[in-house]
C-alpha cells in the first residue's frame, strides 16, 4: 500500500499552497492513501476561520475542506504554531478554527512520518 503524509508550511494567501493542493488531489485520485496533511509554521493559517480572500481569487481553504470531506482526509494543525499566529486553540467550542481541521501537536507529525511510506513537504 502506497501511503503518503504531507507537510504544509506556506500560508493560504501564498500561491505555493495551490501546488500543494493540486499534488494532494492528484495523489488521492490516483488511489494513494494520504494518511494526513500536517500544517506547520505559516501553514496553520489555513485553519483560521476569519480569513477572507477576495472571491475572485483561489480559495485554498475551501479546497482543503472539499478534499477533507470527499476523501475523509485528516487535516492537522500544529497547536504551537497556531497560537503564535493568533489562532486560539484553547476554547472548547472554538469559533476561530475551521472545523475541517484538527488541532494536534507535533507528536502527530511523528505518527504520520512513522506510518507513511513517503513524506512530502510543501
Amino acid at each position: 500500500m502506497k501511503t503518503l503524509a504531507v507537510v504544509i508550511t506556506t500560508p493560504p494567501y501564498s500561491h505555493l499552497t495551490i501546488t500543494a493542493l493540486t499534488y494532494v488531489e492528484a495523489a488521492l485520485e490516483a488511489g494513494i492513501n494520504v494518511i494526513g496533511v500536517f500544517f506547520y509554521q505559516d501553514g496553520v493559517m489555513h485553519a483560521n476561520e476569519d480569513i477572507s480572500i477576495a472571491s475572485d481569487e483561489y480559495q485554498a481553504i475551501e479546497h482543503w475542506q472539499r478534499l477533507q470531506q470527499k476523501y475523509q482526509l485528516p487535516l492537522h494543525i500544529c497547536i504551537t504554531a497556531a497560537e503564535k499566529r493568533g489562532i486560539a486553540c484553547d476554547a472548547i467550542d472554538n469559533e476561530t478554527i475551521n472545523k475541517a481541521f484538527t488541532v494536534s501537536g507535533l507528536g502527530e507529525l511523528v505518527e504520520l512520518t512513522t506510518k507513511a511510506s513517503r513524506l512530502v513537504q510543501f
Partner: protein
Amino acid sequence: MTVLNTQIASTELPASGLAIINSKAPFSSTHGKDALDVALIFGAFEQKVSLFFQGDGVYQLCANQDGRLVSIKDYLKTFSAFEFYDIEDIYVCQQSLANRQLAEDFHIDDVQVLSSIDFGTALNRHQHVLRF
C-alpha cells in the same frame, strides 16, 4: 559590478514622489500584488509614484504570462491601468533582464530599460522608496 554613480547635486531637480522597487517574481508570493495595490492608491490620490523592476521582479513584466494556468488570478493584467492612474514612469533594470536571458518583450508599453547606473539615478529622483 558597476562603477559608482556620481551625481552633481546642483544640476538636480528636487526629489519627489514614491519609488516602488519590485524584486519578486509574480506568482509565488503576494509581493507583486501588494506593491501594485500601493502604486494604484498613490495614483488614485494623484501622488507621483514610479515603478522599478529589478532582480526577479523583472519577471512581472514578461509578455505572454498566464496565471490562470496555475489557478492564479492574474493581477499582471491590472498593469494596463497604469496609464489611467497617471503612473508613467516604469523602469526595468537591463542587467537583471540580461542575467535571466530575457528579451525586452513586455506586456505593457512604455517600459524604460535602464543600465544599473541610470536605474540608480532614476531611483534617486524620488523622495521615498519602498521595496517589495
